[in-house]
C-alpha cells in the first residue's frame, strides 16, 4: 500500500497547485463583465449563426477507417509477442487476416471515400 501512498500525495499536490493558481488569479484580477466580452470568441469577428455546425462527413469516414486499423493493432501485439513459439502457421493466418482488412481499404478507396474534397 505504501507505493500507492506516494501516488496519492502526488495527485493531491498536483490538483492543489491548479486550484491554488485559480484562487490567486481570482483574488488579483479585475472583475468587469459586459455584453461584448461575454460573447463567444471567434477570431475577433462578431459570432455568426449557431455554434453547432455540421462537420464534413469525410472526418467521420477517415475516423472509421482509422478505428478499423487501430483495433487490428490490438490483435497484432499479442501475435507479435507469441510469434516465436507459433511458427509459420501463425504467419499465414495473420497475412490472411490483414489481407481481409486490406480488401476493406481497397473497397473504401474504390468507392472514392479516401479523396478529400
Amino acid at each position: 500500500m505504501d507505493q500507492y501512498l506516494s501516488v496519492l500525495i502526488f495527485l493531491l499536490v498536483g490538483v492543489g497547485i491548479v486550484l491554488f493558481t485559480f484562487f490567486i488569479a481570482r483574488l488579483i484580477r479585475p472583475h468587469n463583465p459586459y455584453k461584448e466580452k461575454n460573447q463567444t470568441y471567434e477570431c475577433a469577428e462578431a459570432p455568426v449563426g449557431n455554434s453547432w455546425v455540421k462537420f464534413n462527413n469525410h472526418f467521420y469516414i477517415f475516423a472509421l477507417i482509422f478505428v478499423v486499423f487501430d483495433v487490428e493493432a490490438v490483435f497484432l501485439f499479442p501475435w507479435a509477442v507469441a510469434f516465436g513459439q507459433l511458427g509459420l502457421f501463425a504467419l499465414v493466418e495473420m497475412i490472411i487476416f490483414i489481407a481481409i482488412l486490406v480488401f476493406g481499404l481497397y473497397y473504401a478507396w474504390k468507392k472514392g471515400v479516401l479523396k478529400w474534397v
Partner: protein, 100 residues
C-alpha cells in the same frame, strides 16, 4: 494485490451506469456511448475473473469484445448520421413513425 471484489463492484457500477444511460437518455449518441460503457464493464469483469482464476482465455475474450465494440460503434454512428440527414434530429423521442 487488490481483491477481486473491488473490480467486480466497479464493473457492476459501470454496467448499471451504462444501462441507466441507455434507458434514461434521449440522445442517441449518449445511448451509444452508454452501450460501449456496458461492454467495457463486462470487459473489466472478464479480466478480473481471468486474473482470479489464473487463465488467459479472458484476455482473448476481451480482445474480441474490443473488435466487436468498434464494429458496433462504426455501424451505430453511420446509422445515426443517416437518421440525422433524414430528420435533422438525434433525439430518440422524435422517432415514432413506426408506432401506429
Amino acid at each position: 494485490m487488490i481483491p477481486i471484489g473491488h473490480f467486480l463492484i466497479l464493473s457492476a457500477m459501470l454496467f448499471a451506469v451504462g444501462a441507466a444511460g441507455v434507458i434514461i437518455s434521449r440522445n442517441l449518441l449518449i445511448m451509444l456511448m452508454s452501450i460501449e460503457l456496458m461492454l467495457n464493464a463486462a470487459n473489466l469483469a472478464i479480466i478480473a475473473f481471468s486474473r482470479m482464476n489464473n487463465i488467459v482465455d479472458g484476455h482473448v475474450f476481451v480482445f474480441i469484445v474490443f473488435a466487436v465494440a468498434a464494429a458496433e460503434a462504426a455501424v451505430g454512428l453511420a446509422i445515426i448520421i443517416m437518421i440525422f440527414r433524414n430528420r435533422e434530429s438525434i433525439n430518440a423521442d422524435n422517432f415514432s413513425l413506426l408506432k401506429r
